[in-house]
Amino acid sequence: MEITLENIIPIPLKENLEKRPSQVWHNKVRFGPDKKVKIKAPSGTGKTTLVHFLYGLRADYTGALHWDVSALNKLDSDKIARYRQSEISVIFQDLRLFAHLTARENIELNRVLQEKAPYYPDTVIQEMAVTLGVDHILDQACGICSYGEQQRIAIIRALVQPFSLLIMDEPFSHLDQENAQKAARLIELECNKRGAGFVLTDLDEDTFFNYNTYLNL
């Protein structure tokens, strides 16, 4: 899928953002399977707001945001669900796991949510968990896992579904350098496997991926 932004400005940040230069706000930007985008965003520039706009969680903006050819705010909820099941995947900064479900159940949920057959068999959960070093907590309730563990669970959850665009909001914020590298390699592998593009937002520069587009928010 492709996401295009035209003159998008979040209404709550309008005053602030109109004064400062940005390569995303009040610009024309396109994200798609061919793009490996890094968006560098200092605090307070609307980084998480942008992620929520892209994923369709918020619509308090002016301008036009399209998923493929449809205006996102015109799509009905069942169509949006279909996109989220098979075209667009997300790793939230605030992780958004079900605290009382186990790590495995959280991942499994996203695997079987497809109305079509699941993209991966359930053995993949174990494999990915081993790769990221969280296989020992798979059957533990997420609420009692550390942030680092939860973040890796959220990453695996985003990767067990089909997608052509992956959106990541500070995906490694709770990980040390070594674990972040492992996670980045897994993400890159999964994106390549699907021919998918990604958008990563973060506060600083990084070298986790071979980005082909750099944007300053």
Binding site: S77, F98, N110, V112
Partner: protein, 392 residues
């Protein structure tokens, strides 16, 4: 797998006790509503059925009130009869045709008795006698006659007891040939008759209409007299309009028949009370169900939002919630139908001893009623769930 996970996420624990109460309420409500339908249908079956034993079908014999002023002139005119036929509460009117000749009956050697008597006839559909015996043509050996049950009762329990005579059963009476002597203009003619049946409806001695027409034509010694009595069929003898009509036209009827109207009023009352109570309980059950669904969804609002964020479609969630909440209703309806089937079977067995025939199975109306209730429940569930999911 998805449903197992959804069940863990959308927990229905909140207000479980109230839900169980609502379920019990629905069971009782459904039982009352369907009982009302079944009773009404049983009642219709007894009323409208044309079986030989339709013991409470409503036939009334109507004649003018005999007063000092009109004694000797109590015939119903053509206009009177036409007017009766026009009344909406009267389904059929049959003229009671009197014989216009003198008749005497004697028992022969088997049962020595001799009496002057009379014949009347009514159209066959007003008789509770059916079967091959009840027909006559000029080849028939015996004239079939119908006597009132009361005659035999009077003989068996009054006359025979007091005179030390043997009591007679229905079968025995039917087997005795009776000699009938008719005074014709050309002298006396003899026939043989047999009792073909006993009637509770008409206190008269009845012969088939065909015989009456033939005999009146050939033996009449008197001019046509017109009808002094008619028999009517009505679906509701307790209808105040009927009583009012009869009063205003100076007619009267067998008031004993209104005895049944007492039962009818009781049936009607029971049907109404259980129907309305059931309906009220059903409405409350609906209210509680929708509140329970709202409560469940409201208490899981965050979880449902996250599910939608992850890509669960509202359709998936609606389907899951329907699967969670609806099947209990089908189970309840099924259980209630089974209970009613058992009750109906017992009732039909019990009534069979009272010579009232109702089906041992519950009626299609009852099943249709259950289906309609399920459809209403389904609609309320779908609507509530849709509204609530859209609201998260």
């Amino acid at each position: 797998m998805l449903n197992i996970l959804l069940k863990k996420i959308i927990r229905t624990g909140a207000g479980r006790f109230r839900y169980v109460l609502a379920m019990i309420g629905l069971t009782v409500a459904l039982l009352l509503i369907l009982t009302a339908i079944q009773l009404q249908s049983n009642y219709w079956q007894l009323l409208k059925g044309n079986g030989a034993k339709d013991s409470i079908a409503n036939f009334l014999v109507i004649n003018k009130v005999v007063t000092n002023q009109n004694a000797g002139n109590t015939n119903l005119t053509e206009e009177d009869i036409e007017d009766l036929k026009k009344q909406p509460f009267i389904q059929a009117v049959g003229v009671v045709t009197p014989s216009r000749f003198k008749v005497a009956a004697s028992g022969g050697s088997a049962m020595p008795f001799y009496t002057d008597m009379f014949f009347e006839s009514v159209p066959d559909q007003f008789l509770d006698i059916s079967g091959g015996d009840w027909k006559w043509d000029d080849q028939t050996q015996y004239i079939p006659i119908v006597i009132p049950n009361q005659f035999l009762d009077m003989y068996n329990f009054g006359f025979a007891k007091s005179q030390n005579l043997p009591q007679l059963s229905h079968e025995l009476v039917k087997s005795i040939p009776i000699r009938i002597d008719i005074q014709t203009p050309s002298g006396q003619k003899s026939f043989y008759a047999k009792v073909a049946g006993f009637s509770d409806r008409i206190s008269s001695i009845l012969v088939p209409q065909a015989f009456m027409a033939w005999a009146n034509k050939n033996f009449a010694t008197e001019p046509p007299k017109g009808a002094s009595r008619v028999i009517i069929r009505t679906d509701d003898p307790s209808n105040p309009k009927l009583i009012e009509y009869l009063d205003s036209h100076h007619m009267t009827t067998d008031m004993e028949k209104t005895r049944f109207s007492k039962y009818r009023q009781i049936v009607g009352f029971v049907v109404q009370v259980s129907g309305f109570t059931g309906l009220a309980m059903f409405l409350f059950a609906l209210l509680i169900f929708s509140l329970f669904i709202e409560l469940t969804i409201a208490s899981c609002r965050e979880e449902i939002r996250l599910l939608v964020t992850l890509g669960a479609s509202p359709r998936q969630l609606r389907r899951f919630l329907m699967k969670t909440f609806y099947p209990a209703n089908i189970v309840i309806a099924f259980v209630v139908l089974v209970i009613l089937s058992i009750l109906q079977w017992l009732l039909s067995g019990f009534l069979a001893h009272q010579s009232m025939v109702i089906s041992p199975f519950i009626s299609w109306f009852t099943i249709a009623g259950a289906v309609i209730v399920l459809v209403i429940l389904w609609w309320v569930h779908v609507r509530t769930i849709k509204k609530q999911i859209a609201g998260t």
